[in-house]
Protein backbone atom coordinates (compact mmCIF):
# COMPACT_ATOMS: atom_id res chain seq x y z
CA UNK A 1 0.00 0.00 0.00
CA UNK A 2 1.21 3.47 -0.87
CA UNK A 3 1.36 5.67 2.24
CA UNK A 4 1.74 9.45 1.97
CA UNK A 5 2.00 12.10 4.68
CA UNK A 6 -0.32 15.05 4.13
CA UNK A 7 -1.14 18.10 6.22
CA UNK A 8 -4.50 19.76 6.69
CA UNK A 9 -5.50 21.43 3.44
CA UNK A 10 -3.19 19.25 1.34
CA UNK A 11 -4.48 16.68 -1.11
CA UNK A 12 -3.58 13.83 -3.42
CA UNK A 13 -4.83 13.01 -6.86
CA UNK A 14 -5.80 9.48 -7.83
CA UNK A 15 -5.72 9.39 -11.59
CA UNK A 16 -6.82 12.50 -13.44
CA UNK A 17 -10.12 13.29 -11.83
CA UNK A 18 -10.21 12.04 -8.24
CA UNK A 19 -8.84 14.38 -5.59
CA UNK A 20 -8.76 13.47 -1.90
CA UNK A 21 -8.30 16.48 0.40
CA UNK A 22 -7.46 16.39 4.09
CA UNK A 23 -10.09 18.85 5.30
CA UNK A 24 -9.41 18.61 9.01
CA UNK A 25 -7.47 16.61 11.55
CA UNK A 26 -8.71 16.42 15.15
CA UNK A 27 -7.06 13.96 17.49
CA UNK A 28 -7.34 10.52 15.85
CA UNK A 29 -10.01 11.64 13.40
CA UNK A 30 -9.30 12.81 9.87
CA UNK A 31 -11.94 14.55 7.81
CA UNK A 32 -11.56 13.83 4.10
CA UNK A 33 -13.02 15.71 1.18
CA UNK A 34 -13.34 13.90 -2.11
CA UNK A 35 -13.68 15.54 -5.50
CA UNK A 36 -14.67 12.83 -7.95
CA UNK A 37 -16.96 12.26 -10.91
CA UNK A 38 -20.58 11.98 -9.77
CA UNK A 39 -20.94 8.43 -11.06
CA UNK A 40 -18.15 7.13 -8.86
CA UNK A 41 -19.39 5.18 -5.85
CA UNK A 42 -17.78 6.25 -2.59
CA UNK A 43 -18.71 4.25 0.51
CA UNK A 44 -17.42 3.90 4.04
CA UNK A 45 -15.63 0.56 4.22
CA UNK A 46 -17.66 -0.47 7.31
CA UNK A 47 -20.84 -0.31 5.23
CA UNK A 48 -19.40 -2.50 2.49
CA UNK A 49 -18.23 -4.92 5.17
CA UNK A 50 -21.67 -4.89 6.82
CA UNK A 51 -23.38 -5.69 3.51
CA UNK A 52 -20.89 -8.51 2.92
CA UNK A 53 -21.55 -9.92 6.39
CA UNK A 54 -25.31 -9.61 5.93
CA UNK A 55 -25.07 -11.64 2.71
CA UNK A 56 -22.85 -14.28 4.31
CA UNK A 57 -25.31 -14.56 7.22
CA UNK A 58 -28.29 -14.75 4.85
CA UNK A 59 -26.69 -17.70 3.05
CA UNK A 60 -26.99 -19.68 6.29
CA UNK A 61 -30.75 -19.16 6.32
CA UNK A 62 -33.33 -21.57 7.64
CA UNK A 63 -36.57 -22.39 5.83
CA UNK A 64 -39.43 -19.93 5.70
CA UNK A 65 -42.98 -21.25 6.24
CA UNK A 66 -44.69 -21.05 2.87
CA UNK A 67 -48.26 -20.09 3.55
CA UNK A 68 -47.86 -17.39 6.17
CA UNK A 69 -49.15 -14.65 3.89
CA UNK A 70 -52.20 -16.56 2.73
CA UNK A 71 -55.49 -15.64 4.30
CA UNK A 72 -56.38 -18.23 6.91
CA UNK A 73 -53.25 -20.17 6.16
CA UNK A 74 -51.17 -21.68 8.88
CA UNK A 75 -47.45 -22.00 9.01
CA UNK A 76 -46.28 -25.59 8.77
Amino acid sequence: MLALSRKKGESVFIGDDIEVVVVDVKGDQVRLGINAPRDLVILRSELVEAIRNANLAAAKAGAFPADILKKGGTAR
Partner: protein, 196 residues
Protein backbone atom coordinates in the same frame (compact mmCIF):
# COMPACT_ATOMS: atom_id res chain seq x y z
CA UNK B 1 13.17 8.58 -13.70
CA UNK B 2 12.99 6.33 -16.72
CA UNK B 3 11.24 7.49 -19.83
CA UNK B 4 8.07 5.40 -20.23
CA UNK B 5 8.47 2.56 -22.69
CA UNK B 6 6.47 3.39 -25.80
CA UNK B 7 3.67 0.94 -26.48
CA UNK B 8 4.61 -1.31 -29.40
CA UNK B 9 2.61 -0.72 -32.53
CA UNK B 10 0.70 -3.86 -33.40
CA UNK B 11 0.80 -4.88 -37.03
CA UNK B 12 -2.67 -4.64 -38.66
CA UNK B 13 -2.99 -8.40 -38.66
CA UNK B 14 -2.64 -8.55 -34.89
CA UNK B 15 -5.23 -5.84 -34.37
CA UNK B 16 -7.76 -7.79 -36.38
CA UNK B 17 -6.97 -10.86 -34.36
CA UNK B 18 -7.57 -9.02 -31.09
CA UNK B 19 -10.82 -7.60 -32.37
CA UNK B 20 -12.08 -11.05 -33.31
CA UNK B 21 -11.38 -12.30 -29.79
CA UNK B 22 -13.69 -9.65 -28.37
CA UNK B 23 -16.69 -9.94 -30.64
CA UNK B 24 -18.36 -12.37 -28.22
CA UNK B 25 -19.68 -10.52 -25.20
CA UNK B 26 -18.35 -12.13 -22.00
CA UNK B 27 -21.89 -12.44 -20.62
CA UNK B 28 -23.19 -14.36 -23.61
CA UNK B 29 -23.40 -18.03 -22.77
CA UNK B 30 -23.83 -21.05 -24.96
CA UNK B 31 -27.35 -22.43 -25.09
CA UNK B 32 -26.81 -25.62 -23.18
CA UNK B 33 -28.84 -26.40 -20.05
CA UNK B 34 -26.54 -26.47 -17.06
CA UNK B 35 -26.77 -29.06 -14.30
CA UNK B 36 -25.57 -28.23 -10.83
CA UNK B 37 -25.83 -30.09 -7.54
CA UNK B 38 -27.12 -27.82 -4.82
CA UNK B 39 -27.29 -28.27 -1.07
CA UNK B 40 -30.72 -26.68 -0.81
CA UNK B 41 -32.50 -27.87 -3.94
CA UNK B 42 -30.62 -31.02 -4.91
CA UNK B 43 -29.75 -31.45 -8.59
CA UNK B 44 -30.76 -28.30 -10.39
CA UNK B 45 -31.06 -27.80 -14.15
CA UNK B 46 -30.67 -24.26 -15.38
CA UNK B 47 -31.60 -23.03 -18.83
CA UNK B 48 -29.75 -20.07 -20.24
CA UNK B 49 -32.77 -17.83 -19.95
CA UNK B 50 -33.01 -18.49 -16.19
CA UNK B 51 -29.50 -17.25 -15.44
CA UNK B 52 -29.04 -13.94 -13.65
CA UNK B 53 -25.68 -12.38 -14.43
CA UNK B 54 -23.93 -10.45 -11.65
CA UNK B 55 -20.82 -9.15 -13.45
CA UNK B 56 -19.36 -7.91 -10.12
CA UNK B 57 -20.56 -10.87 -8.07
CA UNK B 58 -22.35 -10.13 -4.79
CA UNK B 59 -20.55 -8.69 -1.72
CA UNK B 60 -19.33 -11.71 0.23
CA UNK B 61 -19.57 -13.82 -2.94
CA UNK B 62 -17.42 -11.75 -5.25
CA UNK B 63 -16.49 -14.50 -7.69
CA UNK B 64 -20.06 -15.69 -8.12
CA UNK B 65 -21.20 -14.08 -11.36
CA UNK B 66 -24.01 -16.46 -12.36
CA UNK B 67 -27.06 -17.15 -10.23
CA UNK B 68 -30.51 -18.60 -10.85
CA UNK B 69 -33.81 -17.71 -9.25
CA UNK B 70 -35.43 -20.66 -7.50
CA UNK B 71 -38.29 -21.28 -5.11
CA UNK B 72 -41.86 -22.43 -4.71
CA UNK B 73 -44.81 -20.56 -6.18
CA UNK B 74 -46.66 -20.35 -2.87
CA UNK B 75 -43.72 -19.08 -0.85
CA UNK B 76 -43.02 -15.34 -0.81
CA UNK B 77 -39.39 -16.11 -0.02
CA UNK B 78 -37.50 -17.11 -3.16
CA UNK B 79 -33.86 -17.98 -3.50
CA UNK B 80 -31.03 -17.00 -5.73
CA UNK B 81 -28.88 -20.07 -6.17
CA UNK B 82 -25.21 -19.53 -6.99
CA UNK B 83 -24.19 -21.43 -10.11
CA UNK B 84 -20.56 -21.07 -9.03
CA UNK B 85 -21.04 -23.01 -5.81
CA UNK B 86 -23.98 -25.36 -5.22
CA UNK B 87 -23.69 -24.78 -1.47
CA UNK B 88 -24.51 -21.09 -1.76
CA UNK B 89 -28.07 -19.78 -2.01
CA UNK B 90 -29.47 -16.50 -0.72
CA UNK B 91 -33.13 -16.03 0.27
CA UNK B 92 -34.73 -13.01 -1.38
CA UNK B 93 -38.13 -11.36 -1.56
CA UNK B 94 -39.60 -8.80 -3.87
CA UNK B 95 -39.72 -5.75 -1.61
CA UNK B 96 -43.28 -4.75 -2.57
CA UNK B 97 -44.59 -7.98 -0.97
CA UNK B 98 -43.54 -6.81 2.48
CA UNK B 99 -42.69 -3.13 2.03
CA UNK B 100 -45.20 -1.57 -0.37
CA UNK B 101 -43.80 1.91 0.35
CA UNK B 102 -40.22 0.99 -0.53
CA UNK B 103 -38.74 3.18 -3.25
CA UNK B 104 -35.12 3.66 -4.22
CA UNK B 105 -33.17 6.29 -6.08
CA UNK B 106 -30.76 4.89 -8.65
CA UNK B 107 -27.74 6.78 -9.89
CA UNK B 108 -27.12 7.21 -13.59
CA UNK B 109 -24.03 5.01 -13.19
CA UNK B 110 -26.16 2.17 -11.80
CA UNK B 111 -28.45 2.34 -14.83
CA UNK B 112 -25.40 2.38 -17.09
CA UNK B 113 -23.96 -0.65 -15.31
CA UNK B 114 -27.22 -2.52 -15.80
CA UNK B 115 -27.26 -1.37 -19.43
CA UNK B 116 -30.71 -0.04 -18.77
CA UNK B 117 -32.34 2.56 -20.96
CA UNK B 118 -35.79 2.44 -19.44
CA UNK B 119 -36.56 1.81 -15.75
CA UNK B 120 -39.56 -0.28 -16.88
CA UNK B 121 -37.20 -3.18 -17.47
CA UNK B 122 -35.98 -3.12 -13.87
CA UNK B 123 -37.03 -5.44 -11.07
CA UNK B 124 -35.95 -5.48 -7.46
CA UNK B 125 -35.16 -8.14 -4.91
CA UNK B 126 -33.94 -7.75 -1.35
CA UNK B 127 -31.85 -10.30 0.51
CA UNK B 128 -33.46 -11.62 3.68
CA UNK B 129 -31.87 -13.21 6.70
CA UNK B 130 -33.93 -16.03 8.20
CA UNK B 131 -32.70 -17.22 11.61
CA UNK B 132 -33.12 -21.00 11.41
CA UNK B 133 -34.60 -21.23 14.91
CA UNK B 134 -36.74 -18.08 14.64
CA UNK B 135 -38.05 -17.66 11.08
CA UNK B 136 -40.60 -15.12 12.39
CA UNK B 137 -37.66 -12.75 12.98
CA UNK B 138 -36.68 -12.78 9.32
CA UNK B 139 -35.33 -9.41 8.21
CA UNK B 140 -34.57 -7.80 4.89
CA UNK B 141 -31.57 -5.75 3.83
CA UNK B 142 -33.25 -2.64 2.44
CA UNK B 143 -29.95 -0.76 2.31
CA UNK B 144 -28.62 -2.89 -0.56
CA UNK B 145 -31.34 -4.08 -2.95
CA UNK B 146 -30.57 -6.33 -5.88
CA UNK B 147 -31.64 -4.54 -9.04
CA UNK B 148 -32.23 -6.67 -12.12
CA UNK B 149 -32.45 -5.63 -15.73
CA UNK B 150 -35.09 -8.22 -16.62
CA UNK B 151 -34.56 -7.83 -20.36
CA UNK B 152 -30.84 -8.61 -20.27
CA UNK B 153 -30.91 -10.55 -16.97
CA UNK B 154 -28.03 -8.48 -15.67
CA UNK B 155 -28.11 -7.68 -11.97
CA UNK B 156 -26.22 -5.96 -9.22
CA UNK B 157 -26.59 -5.50 -5.49
CA UNK B 158 -26.56 -1.74 -5.12
CA UNK B 159 -25.54 -0.15 -1.83
CA UNK B 160 -27.71 2.92 -1.32
CA UNK B 161 -26.55 6.19 0.15
CA UNK B 162 -29.47 6.41 2.59
CA UNK B 163 -28.71 5.99 6.27
CA UNK B 164 -32.41 5.55 7.10
CA UNK B 165 -32.57 2.18 5.36
CA UNK B 166 -31.77 -0.69 7.68
CA UNK B 167 -29.81 -3.81 6.79
CA UNK B 168 -32.11 -5.72 9.13
CA UNK B 169 -35.67 -4.56 8.62
CA UNK B 170 -38.17 -7.11 10.04
CA UNK B 171 -40.29 -8.42 7.17
CA UNK B 172 -43.30 -9.54 9.16
CA UNK B 173 -45.75 -7.14 10.78
CA UNK B 174 -46.29 -7.93 14.51
CA UNK B 175 -49.55 -9.88 14.00
CA UNK B 176 -48.07 -12.21 11.38
CA UNK B 177 -44.95 -12.61 13.46
CA UNK B 178 -47.10 -13.65 16.45
CA UNK B 179 -49.08 -16.06 14.29
CA UNK B 180 -45.95 -17.72 12.94
CA UNK B 181 -44.52 -18.03 16.44
CA UNK B 182 -47.74 -19.64 17.71
CA UNK B 183 -47.90 -22.20 14.92
CA UNK B 184 -44.20 -23.06 14.76
CA UNK B 185 -43.85 -26.82 15.32
CA UNK B 186 -40.24 -27.00 16.45
CA UNK B 187 -39.89 -24.44 19.19
CA UNK B 188 -42.64 -23.16 21.45
CA UNK B 189 -42.94 -19.38 21.65
CA UNK B 190 -41.96 -19.45 25.34
CA UNK B 191 -38.76 -21.32 24.61
CA UNK B 192 -37.93 -19.03 21.71
CA UNK B 193 -38.52 -15.93 23.80
CA UNK B 194 -36.46 -17.36 26.61
CA UNK B 195 -33.52 -18.00 24.30
CA UNK B 196 -33.37 -14.39 23.13
Amino acid sequence: MHAPTPAPNLPPGDRRYLKQQHTQHPEVQTHVPMMINTTRFGPFTVEDEDVLHFPKGIPGFEGHTRWALAGEDDNPVKWIQSLTDGDVALPVVTPHTFFPEYRIQLERADLAFLKCETPDALAMLVVVAIPSDRPWDASANLRAPIVVNTALRVARQIILDDEDLSLQTPILPPELREKMMRTAPAASPEAAEGSD
